[in-house]
């Protein structure tokens, strides 16, 4: 049985004045699927993600999250983790998550928060001001927020930039965990190894258009992925 499509993008265009940053993108992401968005700098990856997240209005095209094409649905059901994870410096991770849980109206808030902290490995840091956390831990905190929100679609922008290899490995495991929980995950990255390890499908964007969209299994190994990427993106 085919998995339910949780994110459907059709004919997405985003212009900034005369520049077409995204020039007509069609993309489907299934529940439980991780899609890696690759492409050179300025290809339109971040613009695509922010449009999907509802942070930027598309110039044309439709974006449906769990079958709902309204911007309101994108704002409520898609969680965006930016390249530089943004947190409230003075709040603790537990306070961040308690806010999300309270706003979402969960009855067992403490349980939901404790579960998210545990899954992201932040339990021991739960009472520290978030401003004192490392970049990797802030990223985990944002992912924990997405977990508590039970987002249908999770969008990560360059999540491994600036992380050490161990933190990158942990992040890949977390991304896989989010997908296993039923979310559709889109990861924008320049790291081919991260894409190969984390993703089920590779999508390459060049000049605002998709030039490659293949299951990761098609590539066999990282070298094959690298060769394919260089062929279409170089």
């Amino acid at each position: 049985m085919e998995a339910e499509t949780v994110l459907s993008v059709r004919g997405l265009v985003r212009r900034f004045g005369p520049v077409r940053a995204v020039a007509g993108i069609d993309l489907d992401v299934a529940r439980g699927e991780v899609v890696a968005l690759l492409g050179p700098n300025g290809a339109g990856k971040t613009t695509t993600l922010t449009c999907v997240a509802g942070l930027l209005a598309p110039s044309a095209g439709t974006i449906s999250v769990a079958g709902d094409a309204s911007r309101s649905a994108r704002e409520r059901r898609a969680a965006y983790v930016p390249e530089i994870p943004i947190v409230y410096d003075d709040l603790t991770p537990a306070e961040h998550l308690a806010f999300v849980a309270a706003a979402r109206g969960f009855a067992d808030r403490d349980g939901v928060v404790a579960n998210a902290l545990e899954r992201t490995g932040l339990s021991e840091l739960a009472a520290r001001p978030a401003g004192t956390l490392s970049k990797g831990n802030r990223q985990r905190l944002c992912l924990a927020g997405a977990l508590v929100a039970r987002a249908d679609v999770v969008l990560l922008d360059e999540p491994t930039t600036g992380l050490d290899p161990a933190a990158q490995h942990a992040l890949v495991a977390l991304v896989r965990g989010l997908a296993a929980g039923g979310a559709g995950v889109v990861v924008s990255t320049h790291a081919l190894a991260t894409a190969f390890d984390a993703a089920d499908r590779i999508v390459v964007i060049v000049a605002g258009r998709i030039v490659l969209n293949e299951p990761v299994a098609r590539f066999g190994d990282l070298e094959a992925l690298r060769a394919a990427y260089m062929r279409v993106a170089a």
Partner: protein, 186 residues
């Protein structure tokens, strides 16, 4: 109470707790506060009678009410029209999405928050220095308006707000040093 308002309060209290707990911040704010009080006291004590009776500037009650109402209306207007992704804490953009709030224009809860922030910053930030400038140099109404505009533009952005306070501090020092004379010249 609305969960967003409670959270807003929580953020403010956490910031205050951190300021109180952090030795260098505590020192910075204590020194800044003490300096501001001393500067105002110095200005009042050393100025002539004009400073204490508002000089030739005798606003009517109606004028004061109109000014206050105008500032509140401006704050409410901005709160109603501006998405919270603009000019406020960057973290709101991300975390309010996680919380399921729509941060687009016209959302009631977010409008209340932004209006409250703008009003607070205008009141706490611009009005005291505005009053001081009015005492010292009533001709400087343009400066008062510029400060109010700066406070609105910076509402919610703590880092820039600290910079704004610092700019206010410089003005207070200049007033205290008598660089704004009674005739309004600098």
């Amino acid at each position: 109470m609305n969960v967003l308002l409670r959270f807003e309060l929580n953020v403010a209290l956490a910031a205050l707790r951190r300021i109180a707990a952090h030795p260098s911040r505590r020192m910075t704010w204590a020194v800044t506060g003490a300096f501001a009080v001393a500067a105002i006291a110095f200005d009042v004590a050393t100025s002539d009678v004009a400073s204490r009776d508002l000089g030739s500037w005798k606003p009517s009650v109606t004028a004061v009410v109109i000014v206050i109402a105008g500032i509140l209306a401006l704050a409410a207007f901005i709160g109603a029209r501006t998405p919270l992704t603009y000019g406020t804490r960057a973290a709101d953009t991300i975390w309010w999405h996680y919380a399921g709030f729509e941060t687009g224009v016209g959302q009631r809860a977010t409008t209340v928050i932004l209006t409250a922030r703008v009003t607070l910053f205008v009141t706490l930030g611009a009005l005291p220095i505005g009053t001081l400038l009015a005492l010292a140099a009533p001709q400087r109404a343009g400066t008062i308006l510029a400060l109010a505009a700066a406070a609105i533009a910076d509402a919610g952005d703590r880092a820039r707000f600290v910079g704004f306070c610092s700019a206010q501090g410089r003005l207070v020092r200049r007033c205290a040093a008598g660089r704004y004379r009674r005739d309004g010249s600098a």
